[in-house]
Amino acid sequence: MHSVVMVALLPIPIKNRSIPQKWLDEQWQTNREVLNEALRRILQPLTFQQNPSAESGYYNVLCVDGSFRHCKPVLAAWLAECPEYSDLHHLERHVCFRCECSKNALGDYVPPDKQQPRRDHNQYRTLSDANAKAANAKLLSRHVDRGFNVFRHIPCMVSNLLKADLVHSMQIGMLDHLQKWIFHFIKAHERLEKYNALWLSVPAYHDLTPKTKSYEEVSQWNGKEMKEMSRYLRGVVTQSL
């Protein structure tokens, strides 16, 4: 069982693509700092400095009856998109936030028994604090940025808590890519007319909305539409080939 409690709504700056890249980078850096500061304040009671016993995983918690007890709160998982995880964890952009896979190997198939080691944020804190040449090189090779990050001060394996976000990673992530690849493949093999005809003929069956536009006529897809599309995509592609 889990529930969602709104803690804070951070202001989102207005997007303006016409401003120079330098300003955009500064803006991005400021956003990252604001987010980290907000999370630092929220998670402060769980950090190492706040509770000396936190090294062992237990906290002295003041309970409602007025006495202190040894408690072990568990930080629950949270959801975010890939770039947001990079900001949260002080990582470089376009890297895996769960394991230490290098940027050049992201597209390769990794069997379950040959996964890269998980990201250990407590180790990153030690390396970042050391501020030595060798430590910085290690951080660089793992695509980690230096500096303060609240998740490096929490006594748990943070990379274990992350969960896959189905909407962003699958429905408007991989399915979107897949759809584009299939579309270009079909176009290259001159089957587009048949594909479009089949696409438009998908009936309003089991909650599917009837199609009024072909794939190329739709300018933007949302999560719900992609979810629906995943149900009939295979049939349409198979029949059009």
């Binding site: 969602v4 709104m6 709504l9 202001p11 989102i12 700056p13 207005i14 803006q27 400021t30 956003n31 604001v34 998982a77 959801l79 975010a80 998109e81 890939c82 376009h94 890297v95 895996c96 936030f97 769960r98 394991c99 896979c101 940027k103 050049n104 190997a105 992201l106 597209g107 390769d108 198939y109 990794v110 069997p111 379950p112 996964q115 274990n160 969960k163 896959a164 976000d165 189905l166 909407v167 962003h168 990673s169 699958m170 992530g173 991989m174 890519h177 584009k180 690849w181 270009h184 493949f185 999560g223 719900k224 979810k227 995943s230 149900r231 295979r234």
Partner: protein
Amino acid sequence: MYAQYKSHDYATLSYMEDVLRRSHKIKDVSLLRRAGKQAKAEANALRTEPVKMQKVDEERNAETWMPSKKRCKMNAWQDYISHEIDLSKELDADFNFPKMHLMSHWVEQIHQYGTLQQYSAERHENHVKRTSRTVGTPPITISTTCRK
């Protein structure tokens, strides 16, 4: 589709792993579409040299060639140029983006936390949107401070 299942067992997870392995085997079909902007620009820059060679070839043999032979030669040149461009794009293209890699963690995460559908951000996003509408947009001073 397997990722959207409401419940999983060892069989469905093994199907999921199998599908992932097979999709990685055939992904190179779409390699051409993965070329970045820079790779595309570099590949198109390659066009200039063969086009020059084509013109020289045409001028040299303009009088001796019959129109049909000329057309045939031009088509061959065009095919050669497009083939070279595609080859260059393919050499620079790759599938190294995070979402492609994240799929390899899905089975592991299902083992750890259960089905992926229950953790979809769809519900939370709606919740945030609804709350934002109720609370209203933040005052301009805050957003300006953030921008600065």
